[in-house]
Structure formats: structure tokens, C-alpha cells
Amino acid sequence: MKAILADRFQLQNYPITQLLNFMAWFKRQAGELDTSGEKKVRTEGLWVKCDDCRQIIWKKDLEENLNVCPKCDKHFRIDARARLAQLLDDNLYEVFDSNLVSTDPLKFVDLKAYSSRLKRAQADTGLKDAVINARGKLNGRPVIVSAMEYAFIGGSMGAVVGEAITRAIEQATDTKAPIIIVSASGGARMMEGVISLMQLAKISAALARLDEAKIPYISVLTDPTTGGVTASFAMLGDLNIAEPGALIGFAGPRVIEQTIRQKLPQGFQRSEFLLEHGMLDAVVPRKQLKPYIARALEFMAA
């Protein structure tokens, strides 16, 4: 081919630079159509697609709407800091027990070492583990909030999360401040094995004391709340309330599907399903969450 072309157009008579230009008629030069640089920077992260209704949403609109889809009301997952900002007055709060770190008790290694997973999660989230304890005010009333961080190894509960939540409960008991725990977790942290399991007992025991002291405890279940977290503190609130559409259960839906070898019905283990079966006190949209909790605390607090 080259030889024929060269022959016909007498290419050997052209200088080499012209020859390259000439060849460009036939061959696309690498990187010619790569427009990623400039354009991508302009649009990246500005738009978000809703998983449920496929609506393209301007991110700023979404954030102004508390990360709830303006079209279909899907509640997007939000991180622990955003949660605290939404619940506590003026986004003012004091974080406590944020310096607890797991010691990797089992020296657990699967496809990756747990210690490296931990480091990665710490770098990604800027947290030491999957929960933030905060003291702040909710409509002027001093409260304690423990907000779980799903982005930290699936919000899983190991020794640190267990201890942090227990300390938050103890602080509520001691200072007689109501406590709100916002769950977002896949359950117990497998990489800490039975250590994680024992956190269920520890937290529940602390809740027994809180209960005896008659301090209000409101459990807020968000997407997702499953496994050992559901089977302990998330279900032990004086009120258990959930955001719409949150996955809430003990056994995972995939495990159930594989065991019973049937497709699960639409909406199984979602907030509305649990409400219908009497397992939740209310399903509260994110926008009404703070007023709802404030109303409840008004009722409960002395």
C-alpha cells in the first residue's frame, strides 16, 4: 500500500515533514481527539444521576435538598459529617473519643491485610474508624450524637466502633443528655471476628443502664443498617425511626435469596416494609428528621 502510494504521488520528492502531514490524511494521529483535559474539568462532579429515577441532577441542587432527589425523593447516602451538620444547630459541635484506633487483634489477612484496609479507610475518610461522637445542640437542647460512617469499611463495627458508641452512651447517662445514634452499617466487622460480636453485648448492656436512668435514646436507621448493628443498638431506641427506602435487616437479602431459592419481593427489608410489619416507629424523610427528633425529645426530656 505504502509502496503504491509512494509510487503514484512520487512521495520521495516531498520533504519528510510534508510527507508526515500527507500521511495524516489516512492515519489518525494519536491523541488528536482527546478532549478530556479541558472539558472534563469543567463538568466533572457537577451533575449526579439518580439511581432510582435516572434523573440528571445538578449537584448543588441535590446538596441544597439535603441529598434527596428532588424528583423521586430517593435519599442518597450521606457521610457522618453531613449528618451532624444536618442535625446539630449551626453545624456547631464538639467531637469526642475520635482518637481510638483498632489494634487488628486477629492480625486478619484475606485477599488484603486488614491493617492496610484500615489505613486506606483512614486516609480516605480522615477518620480513625467508622463513627463520629459529637456533643452539640438540637434546637437548643444539649444532645449527644453518634453518627456512623458507611464509607469506612462499610460502616462495620469492630472494637473501636463498639467502644466509641458505648462511651457515647455512658456520657449520655452521666450528663443526662439525650442520645441519638445514626446507624449506617453493614454489621459487625468480620476482620475482628468474635471481638466484633462482643461489641453487641457491650453496647446493649450500656443501653440497659441508659434505659434505667430514663435518658431518651433515639435510634435513626439509615441506608443501610444490617447485621449485628440492627441486632443490637439500632433496634433498642425508645424510638426507632428510619429514613425512607433504607435497607434494614439482620440476614442479608442475597443470603436469604440463595437459601430460599426465590426472588425476594420488591421493597423487602426496606423502611416501609419494616414499618408495615411493626418494626419501626416511623419513617421520617430527611428534611423532617430534625424537627421530628426535636418533637420527640420535647416529649421525653424532663
Binding site: 481510638l100 487488628d104 468474635v194 460480636l197 457491650k202 439482620f250 440463595q258 423487602f268
Partner: protein
Amino acid sequence: MRPSTHRSPRAQAAAAPAVANAKLVVASAEFLLSMVETRWSARNGDNSTMESGLRAQQELERIEQQIAKLEAVTPDEGTRHQIEELHARVHALREQVSAHLGAWEKTELARHPQRPHTLDYVERIFTDWSEIHGDRGFGDDPAMVCGMARFHGEQVVVLGTQKERDMKQKVYRNFGLPNPEGYRKALRVMKIAEKFSRPIFTFVDVTGANPGVGAEERGQAEAIARNLREMARLRVPIITAITGEGGSGGALAIAVADRVLMMENAIYSVISPEGCASIMWRDAAKKELAAQALRITASDLSELGCIDDIVPEPEGGAHVDHEAAAALLDAALSKHFAELRKLPSGELVASRYNKFRHMAQFLRVEP
């Protein structure tokens, strides 16, 4: 064959070939045993230990059966001596093997179909058993048995998850997987115990979460959570024995106790090795690795400070000898019960709280 006290002339005539035969069997048993011994001592690395341990145990069992048959035909002095020697060697090797059993092999032992189940222990350790049914809300859960009984004459409450051996019974008991009403029944019975100041004994042998639609609809998470909270403040002594599988929340729901004892070959875990393998390794076949990594054996749990005592099992495991297993468990229960009953109830609740409050504190404080 049974040894007969009266030997007819005909039997005496038959004895000569029997003795020759016995010698042959002894020789073959000896040969088999030496094979097992060499294979066991030649094993290297963790993985091959995990595979070979259970196999060695099974082979030893077979050899012992052979010897037992031999003993029955009363061979001559020389053979008897040989048999005794064989016994000693089997015994020694068995001890070695069981000391090196891997976590997966313990898991298989913990799930052994012939392992004594809750009602087997109830029958052997307690008297005057009378069952209490129903959660007064939805139904009765046969996977959780509860009742009144006497422990060495003392009035107590006993409850536990119940597995079965034959298929019909297994289905009836839902393979020992409680539904929410099972946990609620257990709590109801524990509250009765508290009201009448009776100690509580619980037996745990449960695979894990109940993967059923009904269990989710009726709130198994809520039922387990409530048990955890309420058990932490019951004002009577609670002793738990993990007899087989201690499977995650389902086990813990009846195991928030003053004393948690674990049988030597039982396991206690946050998730089944298979479940962990399929999530973390994306391959359920990696269950042996997962079992090892999760640290689920009695000695692991003891090292991690999550149980109070390990109950020895008869040689080869509880399934070999139910009577002996029950006797060993009875002794351990008696010992801990004697200690607990000395405590006034206020102190009891406080020390139970402190135990769980300070359990599993594997964390450090960074500046």
C-alpha cells in the same frame, strides 16, 4: 461377637483358627496404625495439618473398632499384650492429633451429626425437666427449647437451641435455627426465672442468622437485640455452655451470661467460615482459610478473653461418648454454679456488666 462364659467343645475347636485370625487382624491393625503414624509425623505446613488431622482421627477410629472386635473373641496372652500396646499407641496419637486440630476440623467436629445436642445434655445433667412453650405473641418455636428443671436438686431454668439427627425432626426444629419467637420465648422464660429467683442455664448450638423471610418480617434483629439488653440486667445467675456452633447474633442472644463456658471442640464466631470466605475471598471454598483467620476455637476465644472456661471433651470428641461428655460438662457447670450462687444479686449484675464492658477492648488511644 460376644465373649461367652460357657464354652462348648465345638467353640473350643473353633478357637484355634480364631486365634490365627486374630493374629492376622492385629498385624493388619498394627500396619495401618504405623501408616497413620508416619503420615502424621511426615505432615508439614499448616495446610496439610488441617487436612490430615481429621483423616487421621477417622482412621484411628476405624483401627480402634477393629481392635474392639478382636478383644471380644478373647485371643491368647501374646495377642492380648499386642492389643494393649496398640491401644496405647492409638491413644497417644489421638492426643497429638487433637492438640493440632485446625480450626476447620474443629468446625466439622462442632457440627458432627452425632454430637450431643441440648436435649441430650438436659436428659443427662438435669432432672424433672418440664418444657415451657410459646412466646405469647406469635407461636412456639421448636428450634428453641425452654423449661423448668432441677440441677443437682436445685430448681433452675434451662433453655437452648436444639438440633436434631433425623430428617423429619431436623425439619421440625428448623435445623436448630430459631425464629424471632424462639428468642422471645427464651426471654419470657428467663423473666420467669428472674421473678422466682431461679438460676438460668443456657445451651448454645446454632449455625447463625435465620435466613428466612418470616424471621425478617417478625424482626429477628429486634428480638436478639432485646435479649442482649435484658440479659445484661437479669438479677439471677446465668451460665452458658457453647456446646457446638456458636453462630453470631443468634448465639449471643442467649449467651450474655455470668459464665460462658465453651466445649473443647465447639466454635464461636461472628460469621460462619463459609460466609466469611464467600465475602472476603469471594470463594466459599476458602472456608479452611477463613476458619483459621477468624479465630473461632475454644482456645482462641479464651486467649481473646471472650469466654470464661473451656470444658474438656472425651477423647476423640463429644460425639464419641455422650455420657462422658455430659459428665464433664456437668462438672464444669457445677463448679461455676457453686461460685456464682455465693454472690448477692446486685453484685452479680454489676460484675456481669463489668465483664462485658471490658471485654474485647482491642484498641489504643492515639494522641
